[in-house]
Symmetry: none
Subunit: 239 residues, 2 copies
DNA sequence: CCGCATTATGGCAAAAATACCGCAAAGGTA
DNA sequence: TACCTTTGCGGTATTTTTGCCATAATGCGG
């Protein structure tokens, strides 16, 4: 279930480059080249997040946001070129969730976008009634993972995981019995444009094992494959 | 299996310092001092990644990339000195994978480089195992080998192999009944540019036979061809 | 059966990979 | 602001793997 992001900018180059980046991260991107078009599109089919340039012909980003806010509370990130535009944003504080100064790195952009969606997930989690399995949830034998609720159950007992831990166990449980290299797990947990050390994965695996053991002393479903990576087994490791 | 990186910059200091950093991370680095040389070198022997300075005499990085793109899709990272160069990149974005502003920290550079290679590995992995049965998995009679799961079964019993052992049995099982010389097995297990002693293969064969015998006392499918090498037989050796 | 060449195998120390402690930085919250 | 949680990573202990040696065993040609 890919998030949908609307991108509004009058610079076609930025439009294509940014949307490429976002799409490479698995988001579904719709682009608009000016505020008027965008207002129509965004109203007709609201995305999960809007990324707006401030300076645009016909209708600038700020006016666009004000119009949007009449109808919708969708998250918004602004793109700004100048510091005084930032000031303006801060002064007005009219409901933007974040802003990014041009020029910006892919990494920064993705960081901001992901943080927005993390926040949304968190809200969903607290809002959702427990017991309702959402569409994206995962039930692998005794393990239940529901990203929407940020819920992890082991043999029906809740396991309290942090965001990173959740992403890692999710990646592992996606394919029980299959090895994931540390690099693959880094991609799954952080996205492709962020580097963390291999050993950091070890730490998270350690914490995961510990938390599962707190619920089930004999938990040993996360297996180390020496020289390869880790894998999640549905059946407990015997030998 | 070291990744090969080409580094192109007219500043000799940067050339040496950066290549030292990369080499210390285990990468194999080739350097070029201008775009014309680089184009020739990169075309003749394409590396796994190119790191290009933008501002260079004779041919700048942007032109170099365009020329490269005519032939190759190798990943590219740009080095830039000025913000307006960044703008240009963001706008044009003609196939560069990332950019780094000078001056940059060693850590940042490594971060970017590793992220590129993670992506490559990820693609390899997903290409290798799209469904449940990975394309490269092998079922030869009673022997089952699945690299994606790092799984080895003999008569449905799991055999716990190390990476090297796995690579060797894989090479042997690829063509049952066909001899592989020790040199061929070394290539298969270590890559072509690493030297280990012939007798080392004997050791691995020893360990393989032992591990298989632990599961099946009468296992004798790995046959020695005196003076030639080893081969894997589907039917047990009748001798 | 003999002598030479090749292989099998147990053992071992070095190397490689991993587990995990503890801390400090980062981020969020009240 | 101060406080709490999360997180990444340095560093060390531990485990696993691995290459190779020395010796015994086996194969091969005569």
């Amino acid at each position: 279930m890919a998030y949908r992001i609307a991108l509004v900018d009058d610079d076609r180059n930025i439009l294509t480059s940014v949307s490429m980046v976002l799409e490479s991260e698995g988001f579904q991107v719709t682009t608009y080249r000016d505020g008027v078009d965008a207002l129509r599109g965004l109203t007709a089919e609201p995305p999960d997040l809007a990324v707006l340039d401030i300076k645009m012909p016909r209708m600038d980003g700020i006016e666009l946001l004000q119009r949007l806010r009449e109808k919708s509370g969708m998250p918004v990130i602004f793109l700004t070129s100048k510091d005084d535009e930032v000031d303006e944003l801060l002064g007005l504080r009219m409901g933007a969730d974040d802003y990014i100064k041009k020029p910006f790195s892919q990494r920064l952009l993705i960081e901001r976008v992901r943080s927005i969606f993390r926040r949304i997930e968190a809200q969903k989690a607290s809002a959702a009634s427990p017991g309702t399995a959402s569409a994206t949830s995962l039930a692998r034998g005794e393990l239940v993972l529901d990203p929407a609720q940020h819920l992890c159950l082991w043999k029906n007992a809740p396991v309290n995981l942090t965001v990173t831990e959740f992403l890692i166990i999710q990646a592992l449980a996606q394919r029980p019995g299959h090895v994931k290299s540390r690099d693959q797990l880094i991609d799954a947990a952080y996205g492709e444009h962020i580097y963390v050390d291999d050993r950091t994965i070890d730490s998270h695996i350690k914490r995961l094992r510990k938390k599962f053991r707190e619920v089930d002393k004999d938990f040993s479903h996360i297996e180390t494959l020496y020289g390869v990576g880790y894998k999640y087994n549905e059946t407990n490791a015997a030998a």
